[in-house]
Symmetry: C2
Subunit: 193 residues, 2 copies
């Protein structure tokens, strides 16, 4: 299984954002929408072996949305459709346990620490420009979880959590890329191994 | 210079599409919007050394929109903003000569043949699943132009044009990927050379 964790530091936890202005009204949920598409969509289908965790920290109580390729439905490649699916997930009353909103999409209260606990059996990889070269790494046959920040970058507290969880710091190169572009590259790196 | 040519076989040549439903009203201009973003946006800036040609074949008279990184303005990473820029370009009365719509964006009448003529001095690379492995190629210090199809695939006539222009057929692997994801991979392949 390939897991992708994306932390949205300002991403709203409320469904009351506008699909007509996603970047301006949702705390940059557009970044997370594009990350979802990058993780799942192929030219003619969905990657079944992918799971995405979106950590939404822009509300009073943090929430996590989990999307699972095996049962995911209604995902189209465009940004607005993905945002509409996340809006539905955010309209579900979130509790500490996972609740399904639509097929393959689940929501709960919690933050990065909770996600790292869910992924304790996976090989954790934290993407940062100064990490070791991804091309020297091997992920064959492993459950792997890639952890990515958004436009804000991780806080020192988050970096400590990630380090404590045992993540390896890996780099896609010195150029700072958007999270969705990183996910495209990670999927490809694993495809062509 | 890195050039990316994306052929939108059903893409509208009219500005009368809805920003509220880009995939459903524009002949999948959303694919071209995402390709533009993939070509240009970095985490904190725009790639200046990139030029994108969008070939729009879904109207009575084909049009080409050219976006040049050196002078490109107002490009944000979200799909809707890009679609709004293309809408402005399509509202300009198109003639055979390039006309500027907004900074760095130009439009003209014409199709793939015209674009290939513009790029006659570049190394042409046609992306197709059965081509030679991209990882065996070198593009160092060259003007290169990558030619990509959309969800429809190239017609035999287009394939002939591309072949006649001397393009090399290169592959990113056996998995069929969206055009924008291919562009992310091509940019990265050239970045990390």
């Amino acid at each position: 299984m390939r897991n992708f964790v994306v932390v949205g530091h300002k991403a709203t936890t409320s469904p009351n954002f506008s699909l007509e202005d996603i970047p301006g009204t949702s705390g940059r949920l557009d970044i997370l929408c594009r990350s979802v598409t990058a993780a799942f969509v192929l030219s003619h289908g969905i990657r079944k072996d992918v799971c995405v965790y979106l950590v939404l920290l822009g509300g009073e109580t943090p929430k996590v949305i989990r999307l699972m390729g095996e049962t995911l439905r209604h995902l189209n490649p465009d940004e607005r459709t993905t945002a509409a699916l996340l809006k539905k997930a955010l309209a579900v009353p979130a509790v500490p346990e996972w609740t399904m909103s639509t097929s393959g999409i689940f929501v709960c209260t919690g933050g990065l620490e909770k996600v790292l606990a869910c992924l304790k059996d996976a090989k954790l990889v934290y993407l940062r420009e100064d990490g070791s070269d991804i091309r020297q790494e091997s992920f064959i046959g492993e459950d792997v979880a890639f952890i990515l920040g958004d436009h804000v970058g991780m806080t020192p507290e988050e970096e400590s959590l990630i380090e404590l969880a045992g993540a390896k710091v890996v780099s896609l190169g010195p150029t700072s890329l958007h999270a969705d572009h990183c996910i495209v590259l990670l999927n490809w790196t694993m495809d062509v191994l």
